[in-house]
């Protein structure tokens, strides 16, 4: 028997909050990427939980879409941070101030 979806939504909320904390506090670019992945996976848990609750596989399809988009975003982000490291010898995002006005 499936647990009530409230538990899954609470778990997703906790993951989302942890991801938000990571995005606000971390200066390391790789840790920022991991925090973004946490936020996206929190949304994935919601999609899967409500898809199972309503019996609609469209939620699972959207989960696959989000996973693929997260992979693309991680690839581009890693490429950017690799380029940043080659130029500045650091992955501290606070040091990348060339575009700051």
């Amino acid at each position: 028997m499936m647990l009530p979806a409230n538990y899954y939504v609470t778990l997703a909320a906790a993951l989302f909050a942890i991801g938000i904390y990571g995005l606000m506090t971390q200066r390391n670019a790789l840790r920022l990427l991991i925090s973004v992945e946490l936020v996206l996976n929190a949304a994935n848990i919601n999609f899967v939980a409500f898809a199972n609750m309503h019996g609609d596989p469209a939620g699972l399809a959207f989960t696959l879409f989000v996973i693929a988009l997260a992979a693309a975003e991680a690839a581009v982000g890693l490429g950017i941070f690799l380029h940043l490291y080659r130029h500045m010898r650091t992955v501290d995002v606070d040091k990348a101030t060339a575009l700051r006005w």
């Binding site: 009530p4 904390y21 609750m53 699972l60 693929a68 380029h83």
Partner: protein, 133 residues
């Protein structure tokens, strides 16, 4: 105005982040706690709701029939992202073809490329070079 950087020995930024994350979690958790338990309506004629959601045929229909345009756009976006990541992350200082393919053997017979380069050199010479001479 100078804002304090540390409060009670902790960084203000981290304290704010902890507070913000806690507020976000409490708002979501209270919203969930105020509702009735979200339980599926039980078995239907075609099995439980969970069985219908986990049906592979249903998932394939949703991907390739209902949301096929989104799937194709996603594929294009993924391809563009991969190409962009490859371009961004390529190594620096990649030599151009003229230095990468230098001939190492000086006794080798003159190749067609060197003959063509010798013929083209005066043609490609700029007018400024001729005036200076």
């Amino acid at each position: 105005m100078n804002l304090p950087t540390h409060i009670m020995g902790m960084n203000v930024r981290k304290l704010g982040a902890i507070g913000g994350a806690f507020v976000v979690f409490m708002v979501l958790a209270l919203a969930v706690a105020q509702t009735e338990p979200w339980q599926s309506s039980g078995p239907t004629g075609n099995g439980t709701q969970s069985d219908r959601a986990n049906d592979l045929d249903g998932l394939v229909t949703a991907l390739f029939d209902d949301h096929v345009i989104a799937l194709e756009v996603l594929g294009i976006v993924l391809t563009a992202a991969m190409i962009g990541a490859l371009v961004i992350a390529r190594p620096l200082g990649v030599p151009d073809d003229s230095t990468h393919y230098e001939a190492a053997d000086t006794d080798a017979p003159e190749s067609d490329q060197t003959r063509a380069a010798a013929v083209a050199a005066p043609i490609l010479a700029s007018p400024h070079d001729e005036e200076e001479e």
